[in-house]
């Protein structure tokens, strides 16, 4: 299965910019379907980024993060070719992990 995670990590000398898009419904539990029944909450709770086994960014998310979430951050260090490992886990216990090369 194709990864749900898309990452563009670009090293700019002293820092690395990381942009991430994840495919996920991020259902809040407050929206009704066509039959008028609430769609159960289904959302990513924790998203982590590791550079050389060191966490560089940890996102804790609630129900208000948009569908197919986007997040951008910058960390010091990181060189072209380094690995950036990205993992998420949602409120149903589903997870995904992928490793990307810094460009």
């Amino acid at each position: 299965m194709a990864s749900s995670i898309r990452v563009r990590a670009i090293a700019n000398g002293e820092t690395t910019d990381v942009q991430t898009l994840i495919q996920h419904p991020m259902d809040s539990g407050f929206i009704k379907d066509d039959k008028g029944e609430f769609i159960p909450a289904h959302f990513i709770q924790v998203l982590t980024f590791e550079h050389n086994d060191r966490p560089v960014f940890i996102a804790d998310w609630g129900t208000a993060v948009s569908k197919d979430p986007y997040v951008k951050f910058t960390f010091k260090g990181g060189a072209k070719g380094d690995d950036l490992k990205v993992s998420w886990i949602d409120n149903k216990g589903e997870t995904d992990t992928a490793t990307f090369k810094i460009q």
Binding site: T15, M26, S28, F30, I31, K32, Q45, V46, T48, E50, D53, R54, P55, V56, F57, I58, A59, D60, W61, G62, T63, A64, V65, S66, K67, P69, Y70, V71, K72, F73, T74, F75, K76, G77, K85, S87, I89, T95
Partner: protein, 164 residues
Amino acid sequence: MTIPDGGLPVTRRLILRGAGSVALAGFNVATFRADAAFAAANDRYPDDAFKQKDAKEAIKLLYGRTAEPSDKIKLDAPEIAENGAVVPISVSTSLANVTSIAFVVPENPNVLAAYYKIPQGTMPNVANRLKMAKTSNVTVIVEAGGKLYSATKEVKVTVGGCGG
């Protein structure tokens, strides 16, 4: 209120919640995921804060105290959001020693939207996209050097992103 010297966020929270939750938090970290990232993060998902309906309560649960406004925080959000389902919001700050950044939308059903832990060496800049049920203030809380700072901006929402 006194703050323990060099106290990490988790340490403060454990102290605030009392010894009874220490065992529970340790249990969660161990079972939640035996992954290096989660273990190294040394913190658990703040489930109770994410379920709060009141902004002040959510901030209190997350940090154990209140924030003071700061002009060193730059909060970028649209004046008017035509689609409340996708509101691009970003923050940057010149405050030093930032350890976390949280986004709070008081008019949403669950007021806490996102809580970002900023390890040492990561810049205190975050951009993300949030859902907004209706016109509301957006407040960003920045934890820096053991203190809490905030900035707020109103976003007018034409079509809500939570009500369906």
